[in-house]
């Protein structure tokens, strides 16, 4: 999913692994790793370019209490295709929520390089000010209120009625068996 506001692709950034990916053995090992670590992305690395699917899974991993795994999936996806705007924003907000100023700074800088005209810049700078009020670069910013919600959990972001109905049906079935 490419973005119209993306900069020229020859920028050096956090996720530049193109040299390694050209090596067939390294590529094979990476693919085996991804297939084993994230079996639902096993068949095709093109799945890692499917931003909707990546965000969907990352949100569910947050639901499972596995934020590290969600972050890793987003990193892998961006290594495969750096122009996935929503994946960047997801990571940036996670770094903000984890109060990780160093990581936030790295991610925000890389995002700015790839999407120099990104409309989210203002919010990102406001978040940077909130994380590090003494950073003179952001001294005129105000804290973002409310948060942009780029990294919401699946359970917050989706219509839950079908999932709830299934869950209740499963509980009823379990209760019947437990009673027998």
């Amino acid at each position: 999913m490419h973005d119209q506001t993306a900069s020229a692709p020859n920028e050096k950034h956090l996720f530049d692994i193109s040299e390694n990916i050209k090596n067939a053995d390294a590529r094979r090992l990476r693919e085996r790793y991804v297939a084993s670590r994230f079996p639902q992305f096993a068949d095709n690395t093109s799945q890692l370019r499917n931003t909707v699917e990546i965000l969907h899974t990352a949100r569910h991993l947050l639901d499972d209490g596995r934020p590290n795994l969600a972050e890793e999936l987003l990193y892998i996806a961006l290594q495969e295709e750096p122009y996935q705007r929503e994946a960047w924003l997801f990571l940036i907000e996670l770094a903000f929520l984890n109060n990780d100023a160093a990581r936030f700074d790295l991610l925000a800088n890389d995002f700015r390089k790839i999407f120099p005209n990104g409309e989210e810049q203002y919010v990102i700078e406001a978040m940077a000010h909130d994380l590090n009020p003494h950073d003179l670069r952001y001294r005129y910013m105000n804290s973002p209120t409310p948060l942009p919600n780029w990294s919401s959990h699946a359970s917050q972001a989706r219509d839950q009625s079908s999932q709830r109905r299934y869950h209740q049906a499963l509980i009823n079935a379990i209760n019947r068996h437990s009673a027998n």
Binding site: R27, S36, Q40, D64, Q160, Q163, L170
Partner: protein, 526 residues
């Protein structure tokens, strides 16, 4: 210990040859030949003996580690022999490090580093060969460390060889690695995974150090080098220790290992781990992530013990297909139609462990179930909590189970079977029994026949085991399938008394040989 007796007792085997006997004899000779007035010279002798032994045993160790479950008596004897060799070399190296030289300057700092390094090897191979830990070994490790500190050579960086690979270490770093191996060799890792983890620890040794004060906010283990009863232990908030090991460097190293896989490289780039499947490495990553998280969140409440009779004999089924076909007959998503008598239709010609053939069949990813004579085992319950079950079984039974295997257990007659995953295997001290730890996946798993959602007139069905988690939103619910069914990535439907549901498979929450537990994402509810 009489080493010749040890060698003889390892029979019957064709794996131990005259060369093995000669090497054991050479170690006895070496122990006698140690120059007790010259530590540097003796250190060189033990270093050479270690290199020779590693060279001699390299292909055998690799073959044993690649063998997995299919070990013969000969394999077991060979593993025990290797562990005995490392034990003996450790005793010799300990004696060498204990040599007192006239002045401090005449001591050889390598003596401590080599002894502690071999001590770690010894712990690891004892575990791999399913032997009890040597109770005196930890005291020796502590003594060596204290002695290195006293001689002010504990932090001196030295280059040593492990399987012909040069690595940086120090007496302190080798001590920490030995203690970490002792901690991690508690039964939660298979031999292959322990070998992978050890190669990571050995290659990362220079990043480990002990502090006199804990670092606030970091996951920390404590150690008291004067207390032989204690190794590295997690500390409760407010608890103190003589020395502290922060796990932050290990955590950072783990991140580097993960980053390496992203770039298509395996850390550390040498060692037997290079030849093992990527899945084994990922299991070690999962294990370390869990360990570090647990140490950092020690104040979290433990799960409640459940009042089940200790020592009670319970029934265990192993492998996805056997569990689906036999353990969960009564536990279906449809209202129960069977009777208690239907359970007795299970073909049982005897109790004991499932045969290897049965296990291969049960864990097979072909999805085909082959009737075998032994389907279930009777094992002894030793512990039961909301989160896990401890089972005691004979070594023979336990040999057929490995970490990540799927099992179902019936605690009480006429009550639902609990389904879980094997997370720990350890030999018990008091007799030849093995303790197997099970993490519970569901207390009432439901067997379901799932149908592919398609326009086709004939829709294939697949077997699934439905798992219910507590959150009311339902995103915690899962289904266990065999690998083949999972790879098809189908949209499936399941019919229950309260409706028909279409769902797709989400992220994988747990997996083991031949099975995966995937999240359920409901797309249609009618």
């Amino acid at each position: 210990m009489d080493l010749n007796f040890q060698l003889e007792s390892a029979t019957p085997t064709d794996r131990l040859t005259r060369s093995h006997r000669n090497l054991a004899d050479a170690h006895i000779d070496l122990h006698q030949a140690i120059d007790r007035s010259n530590q540097p010279r003796s250190t060189k002798m033990i270093t050479r003996a270690l290199a020779e032994f590693e060279h001699f045993s390299h292909s055998q160790r690799l073959q044993l580690l690649q063998g997995g479950l299919s070990q013969t008596e000969g394999d077991t004897a060979l593993m025990e022999w290797i562990a005995a060799r490392y034990d003996h070399l450790f005793r010799i190296a300990y004696d060498v490090a204990s040599i007192k030289m006239p002045t401090t300057d005449e001591h050889d700092p390598f003596a401590w580093a080599i002894a502690l390094l071999i001590g770690g090897h010894s712990s690891k191979w004892r575990k791999m060969s399913m032997q009890r830990p040597d109770l005196g070994a930890r005291e020796k490790l502590h003594t060596l460390y204290r002695s290195a500190v006293a001689k002010k050579c504990d932090t001196q960086i030295l280059n040593v060889f492990v399987d012909r690979n040069e690595v940086e270490t120090s007496a302190e770093a080798a001590y920490i690695r030995a203690l970490l191996i002792e901690r991690f060799a508690g039964g939660a890792l298979t031999a292959r995974r322990l070998e992978i983890l050890d190669s990571w620890l050995i290659a990362s040794q220079s990043t480990f150090w002990l502090a006199r004060e804990p670092v606030a906010g970091e996951p920390v283990l404590g150690v008291d080098p004067t207390d032989p009863a204690r190794s590295l232990i997690p500390l409760m908030p407010g608890e103190t220790s003589r020395r502290y090991l922060s796990l932050r460097p290990l955590s950072r190293q783990l991140q580097r290992i993960i980053d390496g896989f992203h770039r298509g490289t395996i850390f550390p780039g040498w060692g037997m781990g290079l030849l093992f499947r990527v899945e084994e490495h990922i299991a070690v990553i999962d294990f370390l992530e869990r360990e570090i998280h647990l140490v950092g969140n020690l104040a979290a409440p433990k799960s409640k013990r459940i009042n089940a009779a200790r020592g009670e004999v319970v029934t265990m089924f192993a492998g996805f297909n056997d569990i689906y076909a036999h353990a969960l007959i009564m536990q279906t998503t449809s209202p129960p139609i069977g009777t208690a008598a239907s359970i007795e239709q299970i073909k049982l010609n005897g109790y004991g462990a499932p045969s290897l053939e049965a296990l291969v069949s049960a864990n097979s990813d072909t999805g085909n179930f082959v009737i075998t004579e032994r389907i279930r085992s009777l094992v002894t319950l030793v512990d039961f909590s909301e989160a896990g079950i401890g089972l005691e079984m004979t070594g023979e039974d336990a040999a057929m189970l490995d970490i990540d295997h799927l099992v179902a257990i019936q605690i009480h007659p006429n009550r639902p079977r609990v389904i879980g995953i094997v997370v720990r295997k350890a030999n018990l001290h008091h007799h030849a029994k093995t303790l197997v730890g099970i993490r519970i996946l569901a207390r009432v798993p439901l067997r379901a026949t799932l149908e592919h959602v398609s326009e086709a007139l004939v829709r294939p069905t697949i077997k699934g085991i439905l798992i219910c988690d507590s959150p009311e939103h339902g995103f915690g619910d899962s289904v266990i399938l065999n690998d083949v069914a999972f790879k098809l990535n189908p949209t499936l439907s399941v019919s229950m008394a309260d409706g028909l549901f279409h769902f797709r498979l989400g992220r994988v929450r747990q997996q083991g040989p031949g099975w995966k537990m995937a999240a359920i994402e409901v797309v249609v509810a009618r």
